[in-house]
Amino acid sequence: MEKDLRRLLYETIGEVFEKMFFTFLDMPEDCAQEPDKSEPLFMEANISLTAREQGWVRFYFPEALARHITVNFLGIEAHGLDEKKIRDTLGEAVNMTLGSLLGRIDPQAICGTIGIPEVHALQGVSVGDVLANPEVIAFHSEFGWLLMEFGLLKACFGLSANP
């Protein structure tokens, strides 16, 4: 993946997580730690984009990070959490990320229609399983690693793999 797209994704996701969830993310190269590949993943949130082609963005959350951003987003105590609140928050996270990305890449044009976010619980899936895909980007947070995977996003936005 080209460096510019990677940096753009990081800046976009970083802004969403900082502004809405008060959570700071680091790129792996800016952080001394390596992902713990055995760490189980808790939920995935994905959203589709229809532009020149169909694309999608998917986030994978460890449980601690999912709970942390939900508590911060809603301004509630941890004991007030339930699964619905977590699912809604993770859906908003992926929704806002793709919307922001769309605005940053091509704010003057309609370059895509964003779908409705979907959130699913994960069982038996670890960080290492998802990182087996070399296109996955990992972002470090103090509550675990956020993993991001996307399909056909470059084609949707008309980005070239070799600019």
Binding site: E15, G75, K84, N95
Partner: protein
């Protein structure tokens, strides 16, 4: 007299967040209505008086653009200001909403101050006299910095 506010968003969590921010904004809120899409919002408008609508665009069944079209095409409802709070960031989409009569446009991710500023601005323009009467409440509570 306070303002009746409706938040339209398919995410219950986002409705709760917006409700919280509005509550902290210093605006005197009377009734607070919620709807999960444009269709449900129109049902609320059938039976309740609403002064301002804060709506998402991208929702199942009936989105925000269809909702504002329906509102602006209705003689009784067309005066109600609609503020969009949405991830939709393209200029074309913003222009489309403005041309359809949107009173404000807030892009997610937002900081609470943005909602406060836009909401106060829209209410002041739409209800100048009533807003003036509410001013003491706003001056008293609205000065506080939003702690979100």
């Amino acid at each position: 007299m306070a303002f009746n506010i409706m938040v339209v968003d398919d995410s219950e969590t986002m409705r709760a967040v917006v409700k919280k921010v509005v509550g902290m904004s210093g605006v005197a809120v009377g009734e607070f209505h919620e709807a999960e899409n444009g269709k449900k919002a129109l049902e609320v408008l059938d039976s309740s008086w609403v002064d301002v609508i804060l709506s998402d665009i991208n929702m199942p069944e009936m989105g925000g653009i269809e909702l504002i079209r329906a509102i602006k095409g209705n003689e009784v409802l067309r005066h109600i200001p609609v503020i969009f709070i949405t991830t939709e960031a393209s200029q074309v989409r913003i222009d489309e909403a403005t041309n359809l009569g949107a009173a404000g446009y807030i892009q997610k991710p937002f900081v609470p101050e943005t909602i406060k500023t836009v909401l106060l601005d829209v209410l002041e323009k739409a209800y100048a006299q009533r807003f003036k009467e509410e001013k003491p409440v706003l001056a008293e509570e609205g000065d506080a910095e939003l702690d979100f």
